[in-house]
């Protein structure tokens, strides 16, 4: 009881009181009202266009969710913001690029079973590409953890954080070398063809060279793939963390490492496992991102990485549902800003959200105040 009251007192002291805080809140409410007004105006004026934007925002948000999960899980267990995570995402995209472009790995089902159903062939081929990216990224992330973070496990947190930034720069500038990924934009060959449909009086397929009628909403098989993959990944993660022994061990380790060791839990293995799961999701995100926006480059992980980090903070870092919700909000914020404010503003809005969250509710939507341990 005593510690709680002390904490409340200390929070009270840090809170900038009365006038300034009041002005700040007033301004924020004003901005929020303005944003709502703009959105409502556009929703009423062109409802289908608005729905289209929301759909595009969902597509982006789902990919952010896959990256944000890695940030939040790793933070939950080692209290480290793994800034190299966005670059693992980039490596995932590049692995799939090489697998499709040079190995042609996505066509193996047709090569092996010539009269296979084409849809099934596409699904199997794409899954193969994703699995390969996942394996490479998992190995990369576990290596990073072993080499760069594990030796600093008992060091002050800031040391590990700076190391994470260093690892991120290393991956980025190593990738920029001419004989690695180079600095160029590289056109990405999808493992399957894009197909688009439009919704107006039912669902119709968009024919090549034919414009869709005005007032229709279009969506593609890529959107469907992203939604299905992300939802499955999220469900798998919930199952893993809630129901399996290793998942419960992850939560136990995240809460109290020495006591977890007393249970016979190998804490190092659990930490490696967590980095691995995060990296597998980042790889999935990387492949889907490249499929959705088919032009890749070495620094492609920087902004999605940072925005997914903001999403994780917004949702409450350490919380898995929080990362998901935060990412969906970020996707909407970004696309709606591009559509109704201006495209260059979208990054500014994304990072303003970070600042606002840190000012108003540093623990995020689902976060609980961090307990202080001796």
């Amino acid at each position: 009881m005593q510690t709680i009251s002390q904490k409340q007192k200390s929070i009270h002291i840090v809170t900038p009181n009365s006038f300034l805080a009041w002005i700040g809140k007033f301004l924020l409410i004003l901005i929020a009202l303005f944003a709502l007004f703009v959105l409502a105006k556009n929703l009423i004026a062109k409802p289908t266009l608005f729905a289209q934007n929301v759909l595009d925002g969902l597509k982006l948000g789902f990919v952010y969710a896959l990256i944000a999960l890695g940030y939040t899980m790793v933070y939950g267990i080692v209290k480290l913001i793994n800034f190299a995570h966005g670059d693992v995402f980039m490596v995932g995209a590049f692995v799939s690029f090489f697998a499709v472009e040079f190995l042609g790995l996505h066509v193996w089902p047709i090569a092996v079973f010539p009269d296979i159903n084409p849809l099934l062939a596409n699904v199997l081929g794409t899954i193969t590409i994703i699995l390969l990216s996942m394996v490479i990224c998992v190995l990369l992330a576990i290596t990073i953890e072993r080499v760069a973070y594990k030796p600093l496990r008992d060091a002050p947190r800031i040391a590990a954080l700076i190391t994470a930034i260093g690892v991120s720069f290393f991956l980025e500038y190593f990738g920029l070398l001419e004989f690695v990924f180079s600095a160029r934009f590289i056109p990405y060959k999808r493992p399957f063809e894009e197909m688009t449909w439009y919704i107006k009086d039912g669902i119709h397929q968009v024919e090549a060279g034919v414009t869709t009628p005005p007032g229709s909403i279009t969506f593609s098989n890529i959107f469907v793939v992203i939604v299905i993959a992300t939802v499955l990944a999220q469900l798998f993660l919930q199952y893993l963390v809630r129901r399996t022994k290793i998942g419960i061990a992850m939560r136990a380790t995240s809460f109290d490492k020495p006591t977890a060791r007393l249970m016979g839990i190998n804490v190092d293995q659990v930490i490696s496992f967590t980095f691995g799961i995060g990296a597998a999701f980042a790889a999935l995100g990387g492949v889907l991102f490249a499929i959705a926006y088919p032009s890749i480059k070495t620094l492609m992980g920087v902004y999605p990485g940072l925005k997914a980090f903001v999403a994780a903070v917004l949702g409450g870092i350490g919380s898995i549902p929080g990362a998901f919700v935060g990412a969906l909000i970020m996707g909407q914020a970004e696309i709606l800003t591009s559509a109704y404010v201006s495209t260059p503003m979208r990054d500014a809005i994304a990072f303003s959200i970070l600042i606002i969250v840190l000012l108003i509710r540093p623990t995020g939507i689902f976060g609980e105040p961090e307990k202080e341990k001796a």
Binding site: F255, D256, L262, M263
Partner: protein, 235 residues
């Protein structure tokens, strides 16, 4: 000899916390370590279970040298440590806490059997099975911590201050269960500030003072020692 500690030295930085202590626990025994705050009781247990590394000396368990063995390995050998302050996994349910206690056991039916066994000693836990550990009362948390420590079927269980912060009725209850656990064949190394209670159920005891063992003997001898009476029993 189940557990044999020889000339153990532990440092926290420059502080010489354990200054060459030696003691042992035989199969089937309850052995108490009594002493004041800061005497090194918890440190001793932490060194035994592998949470801290001794600088010198040796610990052997079931005839094997475990002085520098990692905590995970020591648990697998059959030593279970119920830490000071209970250290319940607050965001995990009672059931999940117990499952973590049985982490090293892979046989599902064995885990279920141990869970039933723990519920027989602590029926209260069964009522709270889906409740989060952090929402339990102090006494219930102690039950959960002790039950969790039993889940991996230890041959030796280290109990650190099981009576701390509990009501007198709860203390009686916990000590009754400790005796019961011992009667079923588990050896116990008990660390307690409540020396009177500890000595009443122990076979042997050691008195620890600022990192040194100053007295050893049967629980009866220790309880009758005039200095112990004055310093720890408040008589």
């Amino acid at each position: 000899m189940l557990l044999e500690v020889k000339d153990l030295n532990v440092y926290y930085g420059a502080i010489h916390a354990l200054q060459g202590i030696s003691f042992d626990v035989k199969e089937g025994e309850i052995v108490s370590l009594i002493g004041a705050n800061g005497a090194g009781k918890s440190t001793t247990l932490r060194a035994l279970s592998g949470l801290i590394r001794p600088r010198s000396g040796s610990i052997s368990f079931k005839g094997e040298n475990i002085t520098l063995a990692p905590a995970e390995k020591i648990v697998k050998m059959g030593m279970s440590h119920v830490p000071e302050g209970r250290k319940i996994f607050a965001p995990l349910t009672v059931r999940e806490n117990l499952e973590m206690g049985a982490y090293i056991i892979n046989d599902r039916s064995e885990i279920n059997r141990m869970t039933e066994r723990v519920f027989r000693s602590f029926p209260r836990l069964k009522e709270r099975i889906n409740q989060l550990g952090g929402t339990l009362s102090g006494g219930e948390q102690q039950m959960l911590a002790t039950g969790r420590g039993l889940m991996n079927k230890p041959t030796l269980i280290l109990l650190d201050e099981p009576s701390m912060g509990l009501s007198p009725i709860m203390v009686e209850e916990i000590f009754r269960i400790i005796k019961e656990i011992n009667a079923e064949g588990t050896s116990i190394l008990l660390v307690e500030q409540n020396a009177q209670m500890a000595l009443s159920i122990s076979h042997r005891a050691y008195v620890l003072e600022t990192g040194r063992i100053t007295l050893a003997g049967s629980a009866k001898e220790i309880a009758n020692n005039p200095q112990v009476k004055e310093a720890y029993l408040g008589i």
